[in-house]
């Protein structure tokens, strides 16, 4: 099972908490999936409002590790301040660091991401950077102090799956000992299984579950796919080949 900054998580599935039809469905999706990590955010709250307090009570009941994010931050300063607020609010050094560079694709700003990661790592944060599969960016993030990388499969909320198989495979091969989490872009359980078969340590998803017609069933479907993919990886799959090779023995075939 994946180990993030010394903490072993009981599941390879990490689940977001946004966009569910109701709090009860959110809670059931977590229970059915067995997800070990929940991503959360910090947002403005008014004095008389209870939304944040009620949400927190719900999350505490799930008994999962909490990974706050800096979603929506476009600058280093914004991301760093948000991370500080999240650390105090959730009482965890973990932070899913998002520094967004492009509005339509929500593609990370690699330059801002590395700078923010360095500032936060030096300040004792345990940073989970939402990044692309770019090898040099990932190297810079590791040099900045990150001990986990979270490359996207595809842009957030698209459900397109693993868009750059070659790049992701290269990343896995280059950093065999760094925990790698496919974060964002997954739409189907088969894509999660594929990520596991490729040797990724975990997947983080939200929209694919929350926006499914039946989020609870979809959460379990993803959990099973993740488990199947991880088992397949461990079982050492056969090498693909171009020419056919008969599986039934030729020897003993009757001459007819």
């Amino acid at each position: 099972m994946p180990v993030f900054y010394g903490t072993e998580i009981a599941s390879r599935m990490m689940l977001g908490t946004a966009q569910y039809p109701s709090p009860a469905i959110l809670a059931n999706a977590f229970r059915r999936s067995g997800a070990g990590v929940a991503t959360v955010s910090v947002r403005r709250e008014a004095g008389g409002e209870r939304a944040g307090q009620d949400f927190w009570a719900l999350i505490k009941q799930l008994k999962v590790a909490v990974l706050p994010n800096t979603a929506g931050c476009h600058s280093v300063r914004e991301a760093v301040t948000t991370a500080h607020m999240a650390r105090e609010l959730f009482d965890t050094p973990w932070i899913k660091l998002e520094v967004i560079g492009h509005t339509d694709s929500l593609q990370p700003d690699p330059f801002g991401l590395v700078e923010a990661a360095r500032i936060l790592c030096e300040d004792g944060f345990q940073v989970f950077p939402y990044c692309t599969e770019d090898l040099i960016l990932c190297e810079r993030l590791l040099n900045a102090g990150c001990k986990v990388l979270m490359p996207w499969g595809a842009p957030i909320g698209t459900g397109l799956g693993l868009n750059n198989i070659y790049g992701l495979r290269s990343l896995r091969a280059n950093y065999p000992d760094v925990p790698l989490v496919i974060d964002a872009g997954l739409g189907l359980p088969s894509q999660a299984a594929q990520a596991m078969e490729m040797g990724f340590d975990a997947v983080l998803l939200n929209t694919a579950v929350a926006k499914a017609g039946d989020p609870v069933v979809m959460a379990e479907a993803f959990a099973r796919a993740v488990e199947a993919g991880a088992m397949a990886r461990k079982a050492d799959p056969m090498e693909p080949r171009d020419m056919a090779a008969p599986s039934t023995p030729i020897l003993g075939k009757p001459l007819l």
Binding site: T17, A18, L26, G47, Q53, M85
Partner: protein
């Protein structure tokens, strides 16, 4: 004096960030704060004096992906 709280202008007597939070009904709630884009930890709210034109952000846990 006038300050901005979560983007809205608020008229207040002044004083500390802790006093403002109390005045606005945040006592005992799970929140975090920033003033003028800088994080202000809970331990500093009692001593953090607000000034006219300050921009205060008050956040709570929320759903996220």
């Amino acid at each position: 004096m006038k300050i901005k709280v979560n983007g809205k202008t608020v008229e207040t007597q002044g004083g500390t960030l802790a006093a403002l939070l109390d005045e606005l009904g945040f006592s005992g709630k799970k929140i975090a704060t920033a003033v003028n884009e800088e994080f202000v930890p809970a331990t500093k709210r009692e001593t953090h004096q607000l000034a006219d034109g300050d921009r205060v952000e008050i956040v709570a846990p929320r759903q996220g992906g």
